[in-house]
Symmetry: C3
Subunit: 343 residues, 3 copies
Amino acid sequence: MTHKQSYTLGELAELLDAKLVGDGRCRIDGLGTLSGAGPGQLSFLSNPSYINQLATSKASAVLIEERLSKDFSGNKLITPDPYVCFAHATGLFNNSPKAAPGIHPTATIDSSATIGEAVTVGANVVIDANASVGNGSFIGAGSYIGESASLGAGCHLYSGVTLYHRVSLGVNVIIHSGSIIGADGFGFAFDGEKSVKIHQLGSVVIGDDVEIGAGTTIDRGAIEDTIIEQGVKIDNQVQIAHNCRVGAHTIICGCAAIAGSVNIGKYCIMGGGSGAVGHITIVDKVQVSAMSLVSKSISEPGMYSSGTLHMKTSLWKRNIVRFQQLDSIAKRLKELELSTDKT
Amino acid sequence: MTHKQSYTLGELAELLDAKLVGDGRCRIDGLGTLSGAGPGQLSFLSNPSYINQLATSKASAVLIEERLSKDFSGNKLITPDPYVCFAHATGLFNNSPKAAPGIHPTATIDSSATIGEAVTVGANVVIDANASVGNGSFIGAGSYIGESASLGAGCHLYSGVTLYHRVSLGVNVIIHSGSIIGADGFGFAFDGEKSVKIHQLGSVVIGDDVEIGAGTTIDRGAIEDTIIEQGVKIDNQVQIAHNCRVGAHTIICGCAAIAGSVNIGKYCIMGGGSGAVGHITIVDKVQVSAMSLVSKSISEPGMYSSGTLHMKTSLWKRNIVRFQQLDSIAKRLKELELSTDKT
Amino acid sequence: MTHKQSYTLGELAELLDAKLVGDGRCRIDGLGTLSGAGPGQLSFLSNPSYINQLATSKASAVLIEERLSKDFSGNKLITPDPYVCFAHATGLFNNSPKAAPGIHPTATIDSSATIGEAVTVGANVVIDANASVGNGSFIGAGSYIGESASLGAGCHLYSGVTLYHRVSLGVNVIIHSGSIIGADGFGFAFDGEKSVKIHQLGSVVIGDDVEIGAGTTIDRGAIEDTIIEQGVKIDNQVQIAHNCRVGAHTIICGCAAIAGSVNIGKYCIMGGGSGAVGHITIVDKVQVSAMSLVSKSISEPGMYSSGTLHMKTSLWKRNIVRFQQLDSIAKRLKELELSTDKT
């Protein structure tokens, strides 16, 4: 892995707004964990339980809190939150390709579409009628922008992203490959014999600074719109059904599945593979652990879980049989307590 | 959200085969829920528990059953099943773009393929040798139709759909973006050292009036075909493995995962995120709840579930430890019952 | 279903390195299960529990172990492992389309990319700067190969595969449609108000002979690379997060979700819909059953499970309520045991 950028530690201190202690001319050309970093790399101490790795780290400098900084004798950049500072540093060393703005000759853009300034449109992109793309946005190869869809300024769609008609993105939205925004919500009315399609007349509105991973699907609303508020971060292969609202700055981890008309608050975390049944409300600042199912509304912030721990299958097989008898076990215990009391 | 269509209530009564009570000249230009609808919108009462919303609804007219209609003083369309009638109404107000038939100049169509009349082939579509596309079908931008695949009349493939070689679709099949029909089933024979691929020689056959959501995968059979019968509705990110058969009019919700050689009956509902292990049979009219795993065959219609409810993680952590002791708890209880009996 | 190939049983004996017993001139033009095969088809007996199907099978010949071969009076091919031999036979009867090498005129290939000999590049493929494609590789229609990505010899990418920049594939790697390798890992640092992106500077390295199903996502590492070792087989819609390492010859079934920095050993099997929380290690030869969550490291080979069996929802509802009381039930039982002891 070759990083394209190289900085002196002094430059980094300035760029990252950190206090330099040590050799400002020290050359930094990459980042690493405390245990993995080598010479020329900048590392960070965020979790105090790794403090003993400071002594043996080969990193040329470390991002560290003031209060812990005496434990490291090498070059350091003092900052109140080393992990956030490290996140900013990854931006400085970002090695992903930068395309020059321009429209690839193989792109198919309807004449009624509005394309802003300094926009990059990749090979084989298709942009339908009345769509609009904000200034500085990037649309990767093979992406599809449906009729009247709109992208704010500074959006980045990787290759193979699909926006259905009328989907709206705010500014600085990132969407990774294979994600599909605005497909029909899953709505049918059963007429006694077959399922009658409920055409999905709403759309999807995505706020500013939202990031969406690869292979995620967010369906358009049945009548009103599905809403993803600003700053929400969504991982890969997440499914968000029609009419959901996801509150600002909520995080949804990989493979989570949110059923229709779920209202999730702000600053929540839905764990990997977690789920929520339809038509419920989850308040702000709720954390749901991995592969847990939220089966009714949650009205109090905090951490919630469902499921069981893994165990040896041989033990598990005995326990799951007992789980099927659990109500009867509880009743028998109650009976025994009563009879023993009587005794 | 702007709807393109506008009707008088009298026209709607006729189009929806409903009985008009009220002002037939009332203009309706959209749909809404009882609580969300505004003037000019048609709403519906399907679930009697919403009956108290009738009084305050701002809808200009309501689809309602005869027996409940006295509770609403405004304009109404009387119909035996307001929800089904509402579904038909969404078709009248369907505001998704309509493309004029025609082959986009950037499409790559093998000369041996057969394209019916009034077919729309979008930009960058690829249609391989001997494939056939029925009359009136729509193939969205960037879709790929493999060798000898066939689509019946009136199919609608959104952009970026993939049909592998020899996959067969009936008439009026809808497939949303990113779905992949006919990839290899996951079959390997372990030779003691490595996995030897079992080439998948079957295909996938999809019946009439099937709808498939976005990002769903249905694998081709190992020897025989994977079969999806008529009227089945499949949501987003569903995985159906090789050699499955899904019976007519069954509904499979988002993120469900069906392992290989599962035989699902007719009129079943597989809940969101549910699963089924391989080589089992599920009879007609079974409903499996969200994130439940069907771990052996089900021979009786009805509702089935697995898993646990969500709870505060602090309580959950205590309970899951006990779950690991459940067999022992049950045995100790039995022992205590015996010893107490003896007493 | 028509197979393109036809062999005499004598030819097959030689090609499959099996011992012929019976009529070597017998014509075989397809494969089938014991119960499904008809005349002209070759079947196999691998699981002895199917031995009673031998008598009624209409197969023209059967792959069978020496020790069981006396139970079948028809033509047979004797082999030590009939299932592995059957897998090889599927290769002989493989009926998927073969494309002639060549670059489709609609492909967009950067002039700095290196394309090997006898490579097939399908319609609308995009290959970015400095990418390289090994000899004999196949790149299906609409696939995207990012900057500096590399494919070894003999790779097969079906249509619509996405490789991000710098992703590296070994030789003979198969990737099905819609899979996305190298999207950003899901990493953010929370600054008290919003999530700050941690740019993902690593990549993904995939070993030789790996097969990846449809709609699977494997994320690039944060600093170091995500690694999939040789011979790993991954099914559809699997999610592998950043910084994971999957050991050689491990099998990951459909819809499994592996969180970040998980280290999975060699020869493991992750069941369908299973999951693993982040930052854990799973040793070699661990099998995790369907929809089970691995919630901490596993240091001993063997089979592991979590979750509960499905049951009638009416029974389940009573049991899950008791599950929420399980810790209390266990404590009450303990108390009762103590009090009864005292008695």
